[in-house]
């Protein structure tokens, strides 16, 4: 599904991502963890085509983001860490707008919106402007917009920041369910218990380098601790990096 080949991203003289190679298969929920400034968001933005790789390539189902950006973007959805959306647009309008951008028909969007709103119990506030929503509700609408057009890969930058515990659980269950139906999720997070609970594979990023990538069990084996939490695994890898 997602293949990152020798990705390097340089900002002036600073190398933010160093020679990254990674494969994420269909149906996987891949979590990328790492300290602040380690390059997580930069990687997501490169996959989305919001940033251009300095070298290397990113393939989605064999299509390169460099050569066929439109074809690649049609298969993607993005949930940013800061759900900034135009103030004077309602939640419902944003969902229609997102659907239309991805070529959905009005009837299909109208049919799907009530279903989606029900997940987070948003019915009743969908006609209010974004400027009147709390951060959590903005985040919920951006999650729903990502699920609306049936993407193949969802890129999530910090999925549960600003969500209450119940909504965080719902959000993660939605993403988990999405992978069970054949979709793929690539997620960056600092919330290690969430990554531990839901991820099928985990990558640890340190100063732009992927220092480990494997399933949780195999990562435990690598540090020779069968019961280690992801937090312990993370500290172990980053300390020795």
């Amino acid at each position: 599904m997602l293949e990152i080949k020798n990705l390097n991203k340089k900002f002036a003289n600073f190398l933010a991502v160093k020679d990254l190679n990674l494969k994420v298969n269909e149906g996987e929920l891949f979590s990328l963890i790492g300290p602040n400034g380690s390059g997580k968001t930069t990687i997501i933005k490169n996959i989305l085509g919001l940033l251009r790789p300095s070298s290397g390539d990113i393939l989605i189902n064999g299509e390169s983001i460099k050569d066929s950006p439109i074809k690649v973007k049609e298969q993607l959805a993005y949930i940013p860490d800061e759900p900034k959306i135009w103030n004077h647009i309602t939640g419902e309008e944003f969902l229609y707008f997102s659907g239309a951008l991805y070529g959905m028909k009005k009837e299909d969007i109208s049919k799907k919106i009530p279903e989606l709103l029900a997940h987070f119990n948003l019915k009743g506030i969908e006609k209010k402007y974004f400027e009147n929503y709390s951060r959590g509700n903005k985040q919920k609408f951006s999650i729903l917009a990502a699920l609306l057009h049936n993407p193949k890969l969802i890129l999530v930058d910090e999925p549960i920041v600003g969500l209450d515990p119940e909504s965080a659980e719902i959000a993660m269950n939605l993403l988990h369910k999405f992978t069970k139906s054949g979709g793929t999720v690539f997620m960056t997070t600092h919330t290690l218990p969430v990554a531990q609970k839901y991820s099928s594979k985990i990558g640890i990023l340190h100063q732009g380098e992927l220092i480990a990538t494997n399933t949780l069990d195999n990562l435990r084996k690598e540090i020779k601790s069968d019961s280690a939490s992801l937090s312990e695994i993370y500290f172990n890898f980053t300390k020795h990096a």
Partner: protein, 549 residues
């Protein structure tokens, strides 16, 4: 609080020049050059008018002529300051997102004074480009002493602060009334204040347009006219007091001039006192407008229609177009700025109509045929102001929301063209409408009306493309503020280039009007098409290469 505010402003100013020193110094120089250019034009017009009043040995005209110029210039100054402060205060006074941490502190009252100072400061440009050039022209023509110039400047400054505080106070008083009536909707406040501003604009316009110049200038009583009758006509406006200060210095009556300054000072003192009394109400009003995130609404039983109800956009381009249209229309800040610029345009119509009236009473002040060529740069200048405020910053203002378009499967060329279509449509309508407001009262011929309209349409399409393209080529995600974006190096370059283009268009149009030179019109069309094609390509190329940090 004010002391801290000034310290902060000083540090901010010094910090501005710390990085990219050369670029920022260049921007500052360009900005000052632009202000000097406009101020220079105002100085030239004012001096021309003042010298004209002194050409004939007619004591009445020698005295009343300059007074008329002072009254008109200061009336425009006062209205612009009132308008500018009103918009600033409406947009900034009760907006909680930036000031909430200060409003939560025990020093919250200071915000009222800091914001008031900012509102006064936001109007400085009016003094710089209208009042100061007028005073310099007056000083030169009538050989004012340094003290007279200083006191005249002081009178104008007092007047400016009074206008600014009156604007803030009107908002404040409406807010107190709304608070009393338990109305917490900011839109009601914006509506009431807009109604007041429009009423004042209509009143002033009517007063100026309906002025019987023959009566005021006492054409029937040439033998023994009285300047007091003239002064009486303007005495209802606050601008009369600084005008009379300058007028009395012109007559050498220093005592009367100082009397008028004292009246202004007293008025300022009374206003500040009322302001101080209202200070305690500030927190309560601020709190009310914070409910429902600055826009508390009553729940409506009937659900409101959404953006995509009715005709559903068939293409990505149409989706973006619709989104752009409605997000622009729904922003009260954009609406207020649109209103501000539209009122300026409206005021300009009054001035032009007035000039037309003038052309009937004297031989020396006839603009005649040149009036037609004068209308073109005026309309295009205002269209450029709209472009600077709305079109040029359009891409940069998407900073936080740029991820939506950037991650969607659409070509940036479509985003660019959707924005262009929307802005071009609105500005062409505005340009043609404003043109009609000139054409109808002047009774222009059909041929000239059509040629003028076509020239305006092509020029508006060109300027809009140029402004949008430069904004797209030099996207600045560091700021959301259109004023800051417009005064960046690319923004100022746009303004200067647009002024050059307007001058060229005017000249080519004048050649056609004065001698039926069709080649000049053809040249204008070719230049415009060339600009549109080149800048469209450059902008799209730049957008497709853009990265979203």
């Amino acid at each position: 609080m004010l002391k801290e505010f000034f310290k902060y402003q000083k540090r901010k100013f010094l910090r501005y020049f710390q990085d990219n020193k050369v670029a920022r110094i260049s921007v500052t120089i360009l900005m000052l050059a632009l202000i000097a250019l406009i101020a220079g034009a105002v100085f030239y017009v004012a001096k021309l008018g003042l010298v004209f009043t002194q050409t004939e040995k007619d004591i009445f005209m020698n005295q009343v002529g300059p007074l008329y110029i002072y009254e008109i210039f200061l009336l425009i100054t006062g209205f612009l300051i009132f308008l500018s402060s009103t918009i600033f205060a409406l947009v900034n006074f009760f907006k909680g997102n930036k000031d909430s941490w200060i409003m939560a502190s025990p020093k919250y009252r200071g915000m009222l004074w800091v914001n008031s100072f900012k509102a006064i400061n936001s109007s400085t440009w009016v003094i710089l480009i209208i009042s100061i050039p007028l005073l310099i022209a007056t000083g030169q023509v009538f050989n004012f002493s340094l003290l007279a110039i200083f006191l005249s400047v002081l009178a104008v400054l007092f007047f400016a602060v009074i206008c600014s505080l009156l604007a803030i106070m009107s908002i404040f008083l409406f807010s107190i009334a709304l608070n009393f009536l338990k109305i917490k909707n900011f839109k009601v406040l914006a509506f009431l204040v807009s109604a007041v501003v429009i009423s004042i604009a209509i009143f002033l316009w009517q007063k100026i347009i309906n002025m019987n110049l023959e009566k005021v200038f006492q054409v029937d009583n040439i033998v023994n006219p009285s300047s007091s009758l003239f002064a009486k006509y303007f005495s209802i406006f606050p601008s009369h007091y600084p005008a009379m200060t300058i007028f009395n210095f012109q007559l050498g009556d220093n005592f009367s001039a100082i009397k008028y300054i004292s009246i202004l000072l007293l008025a300022l003192f009374v206003i500040v006192l009322i302001f101080k009394l209202l200070e305690s109400k500030f927190l309560c009003i601020w709190q009310n407008f914070q409910e429902g995130s600055f826009e508390a609404k009553k729940e409506k039983k009937k659900s409101k229609k959404h953006l995509f109800e009715g005709s559903f956009p068939k293409s990505a381009e149409a989706v973006i177009y619709k989104k752009e249209l409605l997000t622009s229309l729904r922003s009260s800040k954009n609406f207020l700025w649109f209103l501000f610029l539209a009122i300026l345009l409206f005021a300009q119509v009054g001035v032009i109509t007035l000039l037309d009236k003038y052309s009937n009473i004297g031989d020396g002040f006839v603009l005649g045929d040149n009036m037609t060529a004068l209308q073109l740069p005026i309309v295009l200048f205002f269209i450029t102001a709209f472009i600077v405020r709305f079109v040029f910053p359009s891409f940069s203002q998407e900073s936080n929301t740029s991820w939506i378009m950037g991650s969607a499967p659409i070509k940036m060329s479509k985003v660019f063209l959707s924005k262009y279509k929307l802005f071009a449509l609105v500005l062409v309508i505005l340009g043609v409408l404003s043109l009609l407001l000139y054409i109808i009262p002047l009774g222009m011929s059909l041929y000239l009306s059509i040629v003028l309209s076509l020239v305006v349409i092509i020029a508006v399409l060109t300027l809009t493309m140029f402004g949008l393209a430069l904004g797209a080529m030099y996207i600045n995600f560091e700021s959301n503020d259109p004023n800051e974006l417009s005064t960046s190096a690319p923004g100022i370059s746009f303004m200067i280039s647009a002024l050059v283009y307007i001058a060229l268009v005017t000249y080519l149009f004048y050649l056609n009007v004065s001698g039926s030179n069709y080649l000049s019109l053809f040249l204008f069309v070719i230049i415009s098409i060339f600009i549109i094609i080149i800048f469209k390509r450059l902008a799209i190329k730049s957008l497709e290469k853009m990265e979203y940090y």
